[in-house]
Symmetry: C2
Subunit: 356 residues, 2 copies
């Protein structure tokens, strides 16, 4: 049923045609064909087009394994994310992070091999396979847990990788991270300076290393300021859970006057809940988002945020990965610490104690 | 400087070790090693682990080209998106679409090769390379333009592909699409039934085929209803441009009483602009979003939308691609037409005095 070349029919390219035939058809040497297909300098754009056209006409393709061995260059890097597929689409963070990765890859004519996995064990098997089958030149490792099970097997494998996470979590992999503890401390000190005494936090899953780091820094800073800690809500980072957590915090008898969120979609959800419950932002409730995608500038009131250029973060991680792949010495490096961008959702609390 | 196996050092696995050595070290036959690495049934989980451990210890990896030729299975599919990297991170559509693709791929133990390209010409070259070098088993083609330049070369290549777009645009590729014209007609009729007479549209880039289809359907429906057409604003789909377009529509002397947006982030931005300008939603202005990610349920008022399960759309496209790759007959098929989900952002215009 499959006519060669018809769309929708897989049509394996025939194997009998050789590089010699392509060279002859294009009127060039075999070396020129090889240069063209290896994307190397030495053939003009016009010649390259002629070679590709001849190869296409004859149905010839280079042997990719031989090619990748001979050119020793980097085509593809891997990224496995252990999140439910549905959630990935809901949070701006990963899309901005991936867009940053892609900005560096596009400039180098490289691609990203992306996979959602159900567990860290599945990721270990996957990364092993990708690496052993030469599908990737290296990987970006994300969402580190405390005592992360990926560290030992992937180090043993010798996989070139960059870990996105604090060096305390990433077991010796070259790591790139944001100093979340300092950023949380700044967020809490800012709200306390505005006069807030009851500050709560809506965080991500407790199992994630960076959630734990933020939670500890939050409690530590409150303790330093002599304020009561421990008002954390754990979520899956979705707007729905952010809304639920906000609602339940606002229903407590001594409800918080300020809430810090672990991303921005949950802060947007918090704003919706406040409006729904007739709680005025910022007069009765201050909201502080994290990451600061465009969402924070589109709401009314606009959302104050611990701003963090996630796109740039993804780009820097990728640049470091290329250094690692090239065998260069790489030191762990923090990228810019998220910094406070005050907008309209934070203000001193209105007359303390007079509210019902 | 590179100790083999240390993280951050690429460490190419030595080539002298053979499958025989791995089999001997694991105490199994060569066939068992082959089965394990080809992810086929016939070896127990424990044996598989032993084989992988032995291969890891010896630094052995199967030849991926030989492997992919022998097992004739599908590992990887391609997706090239022609959008600026920054924009990709800003709009929920692609992340939800990709999450739908990944949900099907994960169940089949397959991965997505993702690439941002700067032009459709670049995409043609990339898809050719991916296919000829056997990096992909097939591709998802998106964002069709009228007279799309990808059609001829990629059909000639015999690339198994699914086109996301109306069959009028996709030049004979098996296509999966949403019936945008009907959905636009429903949106306009609904707003007209509420009593709106000045309805505007904030759309995507005019060059995209589906933007053109929506614009035509919008004008056609207004004409059928005897209403004035032509109030379109063109954007890049970002919230910023959605805000700018809304502001400029609200500054016209006979400003619209209802606006239909081409995605949801622009409708969220429209809501922010209305609040900033003291225009009450829905009393003075009705807003209708498209796609309907969780954003529409998080704002206050919640946003009415032409709802469309983008995650499911991505999943269906991927299922069709696997049929195409398997050589099955595939007919163009529309997925569910976006359907109206009225929420709090649409109502009869106040000026008409017809509110119940």
């Amino acid at each position: 049923m499959s006519t060669p070349g018809a769309p929708g029919t897989p049509g394996t390219p025939p194997e009998r045609v050789t590089i010699k035939d392509v060279a002859a058809a294009a009127g060039v040497s075999k070396g020129a064909v090889s240069l063209a297909f290896n994307h190397k300098a030495g053939v003009s754009e016009a010649t390259r087009d002629r070679i590709f056209a001849a190869a296409r006409r004859l149905g010839w393709a280079p042997n990719s394994s031989a090619r990748s061995l001979s050119r020793q260059s980097v085509d593809t890097i891997g990224l496995a994310i252990c999140r439910p597929a549905r959630l990935l689409g809901l949070e701006p963070f990963y899309m901005e992070f991936i867009s940053g990765i892609e900005s560096v890859l596009a400039a180098r004519d490289c691609s990203l091999l992306l996979r959602l996995v159900g567990s860290l064990e599945e990721e270990i098997t996957l990364q092993e396979r990708w690496w052993k089958e030469r599908q990737i030149a290296g990987s970006v490792l994300v969402d580190f847990h405390r005592q992360d099970p990926r560290i030992a097997p992937l180090r043993e494998l010798g996989l070139p990788a960059v870990a996105v996470g604090h060096p305390d979590l990433t077991g010796g992999f070259p790591s790139v991270w944001t100093d979340d503890a300092s950023a949380v401390a700044e967020a809490v000190r800012y709200l306390a300076a505005l006069g807030h005494r009851r500050i709560a936090r809506v965080g991500g899953p407790a199992g994630l290393g960076h959630s734990a780091i933020r939670a500890e820094a939050f409690d530590r800073t409150l303790a330093e300021l002599g304020l009561r800690g421990g008002r954390h809500a754990e979520t899956d980072f979705s707007g729905e859970e952010g809304a639920r957590a906000t609602r339940s915090l606002l229903l407590t008898p001594d409800r918080p006057t300020a809430i810090v969120y672990d991303n921005d979609i949950m802060a947007v959800a918090g704003l919706g809940v406040a409006a729904e419950m007739g709680v005025s932002v910022p007069d009765d409730l201050s909201l502080l988002a994290w990451d600061d995608s465009q969402l924070c500038r589109l709401t009314h009131p606009t959302l104050s945020a611990m701003s963090h250029d996630v796109h740039r973060f993804g780009a820097e991680v990728t640049e470091v990965l290329f250094d690692v792949i090239a065998g260069e010495e790489v030191r762990p490096r923090p990228v810019a610490t998220p910094s406070l961008v005050p907008r309209r959702s934070t203000a001193p609390p209105r007359a303390q104690g007079v509210r019902p």
